[in-house]
Amino acid sequence: MQVVLFGICALLAIVGAVGVITARNPVYSALFLVLNFFSLAGLYLSLEAQFLAVTQVIVYAGAIVVLFLFVIMLLNLRPEDLPRFRLDRTGPLVVLLSLGLLLGVGMGIWSLLGASFPQDPQAQAVGTVESLGRALFGRYLVGFEVVAVLLLVAMIGSVMLAKRRFQ
């Protein structure tokens, strides 16, 4: 059951990811992204990370993609403005190298098939809201705060670049 679920979600995730970069119409791209996010949420669920799965759907598939769609529509692009996805001269090389990368990672994973992985005792119940909250406001409080700074930086930066008038 779990294997079947994983297979379906993984396949959909890959299809979605490829669709995002190959679709010519940006709206389709965004919709493919939604597909990708949903399948990721499925994968989280299969790992018993319910909270993460829900957040994934609400924040990413919901809020963020909606924002994307708004921006795309506001830009009001005509079809002839849109670039066509095609491989340029370096394309074959890129594909080859990417396959090489995949092969490298695959070899790493292959060598571990059937081996047991060390378990982080803290990770047992990491999927629940409670354990996540304890971790975030306990040991990882600093990290949490740093994320706040990170988001603030992103906000300030985009506002500054977008709003400031210039010569």
Binding site: P83, R89, T90, V94, L97, G100, L101
Partner: protein
């Protein structure tokens, strides 16, 4: 005199540099106050000389060597490099040469550089030059020595390029610097290796433990350090910078050729002589390189037409003799020759400077002649310098050259001894030629008749140096006379250098001396006869007689061209190729690169060259794959 004063030897010229430099930088009016600048610069070096003299007189020979620690420079883990000075007979003697001759050259510069826009700069660098050289000579730690070594290289760069607005001169300066860096690089590697073997770079420790180093490592270290010495001392294969280095003001040439810079290599060999005597193979190579350099440079000196270039090749040749001396284990004789050569070569350069000064910049000896009538003092001193350099007894050059040649014979290097003798003969020929073509005969240019003697501030150093050129050799009479009792310099220096003893029979020594006297007298006679009668015509005659050989000498054995083809061009092309590759995409992006797509930013549609971007990402990907492959390979 207290040995604690030693740091001031370096400190005084350094202070002069800082004062001149800072005042000149910050206070434009100071730059035109030539008297003040000159007096400051001369007095710090003169004070250093007096200080050295005080140490020389005040410290009994038995108390040497002394170690004066200023402070701890580096102390990290098991490695410590203090700023410490070593006072022994060798360093003290070198200090005397550097400051003494240096002070006279400073004095001369006051007159020579008058009216130059960079007057303050010139004197600041000159002081720094002396400071760096003194640091090199006095350092008790090889790392500190390297500091002086690099400093000397930098100062020569700055001074050779003094008239940097002239492209050719700036290029000469850069060439000197780059060639020196090649030697420095070998030197640094040698130092690091030595540190690895010995665990310290303190001279005392290094010299003590030299015997414990495994012989191949010792040989390699010796070779690397020797290569460094060939860079500074302008030996084969790194001599090419010195002839170009005359692009600098003439007193700078005098300083580089006589008192500082080029003597550093010889000093290094003598300093590390306990290390070198343990690897006879390296010593043999040093002797061979020295003899070859002496011979080849002397032939090139014979065909030069630029007064300063004759002297430059002559310096290379003389340095070759010093390396020959060091190579056969006569380190103290080599240093002795540094001493006598310093006087005669400084004298010759300053004399040449007076001539150039008088002829308003003319350096071509074909447009001189008959100057002896207009510049009697310059002529007299130049004559003494030339004869001393040619090795005419009882002038200074004879004694030291003879000491090295007999050592070469005594150590069984008959061939090298013969090469040395031949280059001595060539020395007399080109010195005679120079003397005759510049001062004798009829004037070959109108400017000669307007020539006049230089001001007193320039004449005084000439006289001082001439005295040295005559008498400096009298502290080291050959064994033949007095059985070594009159060889004061040998006894003084042998405390610090590890000379190889050679049992040369008195008969052979007498033969060697007789031969070199014959060569000196005969060569000079020949030169005066040849050029005295025919003047420039003699050059043409030689050219006809020698044909291809003469052309080969004129082209400097085509070494420059070969280096250009072997190293310079491949290096430039080699570094240009990958660059062109990467930059082509940037330049190409402007014209229209094949791989491109468009990006949209904001409302205005702007095209960005993202083809470039995919190239960058591609390179990153290759790198990432490389890393992965490596780690996988290591772990599988």
């Amino acid at each position: 005199m207290m040995p604690q004063w030693t740091p001031y030897l370096v400190g005084l010229p350094l202070l002069g540099f800082l004062l001149s430099g800072l005042l000149g930088l910050l206070w434009p009016r100071y730059r035109r106050w030539e008297i003040g600048i000159g007096v400051l610069a001369v007095s710090v070096v003169a004070l250093a000389f007096l200080l050295a003299l005080g140490l020389f007189v005040g410290l009994p020979q038995e108390e040497l060597p002394l170690r004066v620690v200023l402070y701890q420079w580096i102390a990290s883990g098991d490695f410590a490099a203090p700023i410490a000075f070593r006072l022994d007979t060798l360093s003290l003697w070198m200090t005397l040469i550097v400051t003494g001759v240096g002070a006279l050259i400073h004095l001369y510069s006051i007159g020579y550089m008058r009216g130059d826009a960079g007057y303050w700069r010139y004197f600041a660098y000159l002081n720094l030059f002396i400071a760096a050289m003194l640091l090199l000579v006095l350092a008790d730690n090889l790392l500190l020595l390297f500091l002086g070594w690099e400093g000397v290289g930098l100062c020569s760069y700055l001074l050779i390029g003094h008239w940097y607005a002239d492209r050719e001169k700036a290029f000469a300066a850069r060439k000197a610097f780059v060639v020196n860096r090649i030697g420095d690089f070998a030197f640094l590697i040698g130092l690091l290796w030595l540190f690895r073997e010995v665990g310290s770079l303190d001279l005392g420790v290094v010299l003590d433990r030299a015997g414990a180093i495994e012989s191949t490592a010792l040989g390699a270290i010796g070779m690397l350090l020797f290569l460094g010495a060939t860079g500074k001392s302008a030996q084969i294969p790194l001599y090419v910078w010195l002839p170009d280095a005359m692009a600098g003001p003439t007193p700078v040439s005098a300083l580089i050729h006589a008192a500082t810079m080029v003597t550093a290599g010889v000093y290094l060999l003598a300093r590390l002589s306990p290390l070198y005597v343990l690897s006879p193979g390296v010593l043999g190579l040093i002797a061979l390189i020295g003899a070859l350099t002496a011979l080849l440079a002397a032939t090139m000196a014979l065909v030069q037409t630029d007064i300063k270039k004759v002297l430059a090749y002559s310096t290379i040749s003389q340095l070759g003799l010093m390396f020959l001396g060091a190579g056969v284990g006569a380190f103290s004789a080599a240093i002795f020759h540094v001493f006598t050569h310093a006087f005669s070569k400084a004298l010759l350069f300053l004399g040449a400077g007076s001539v150039i000064h008088a002829l308003e910049g003319e350096q071509d000896i074909r447009r001189m002649g008959g100057l002896s009538r207009h510049m009697p003092l310059t002529y007299c001193t130049f004559l003494l310098g030339a004869l001393a350099l040619a090795g005419l007894p009882p002038l200074a050059g004879f004694f030291s050259k003879d000491m090295m040649l007999t050592a070469a014979l005594g150590s069984g290097h008959e061939v090298l001894w013969f090469l040395g003798l031949v280059s001595s003969l060539l020395t007399t020929l080109y010195m005679g030629r120079l003397l005759v073509l510049v001062f004798h005969g009829a004037p070959r240019a109108p400017a000669v008749s307007r020539a006049h003697e230089a001001p007193a501030v320039m004449r005084l150093p000439l006289v001082g140096l001439a005295v040295g050129a005559v008498a400096a050799g009298w502290i080291g009479w050959p064994d033949l006379l007095g059985h070594g009792a009159w060889n004061w310099i040998g006894r003084w220096l042998s405390d610090s250098t590890a000379d190889l003893e050679h049992g040369l029979s008195l008969g052979l020594e007498a033969l060697s001396i007789a031969l070199s006297v014959t060569v000196a007298v005969g060569g000079l006679w020949m030169a005066f006869r040849l050029w005295g009668r025919a003047g420039l015509e003699a050059d043409h005659m030689l050219q006809r007689r020698l044909g291809g050989l003469y052309a080969l000498w004129q082209s400097g054995y085509r070494v420059e061209a070969i280096y250009e083809r072997l190293f310079v061009r491949p290096l430039l092309q080699g570094s240009a190729a990958p660059l062109r590759w990467s930059e082509r995409y940037i330049a190409g992006g402007l014209i229209g690169l094949a791989s491109r797509s468009a990006f949209f930013i904001g409302s205005g549609i702007r095209r960005l060259q993202t083809g470039l971007l995919s190239l960058y990402a591609l390179v990153m990907l290759i790198g990432a794959l490389g890393l992965l492959a490596w780690f996988l390979w290591r772990s599988l």
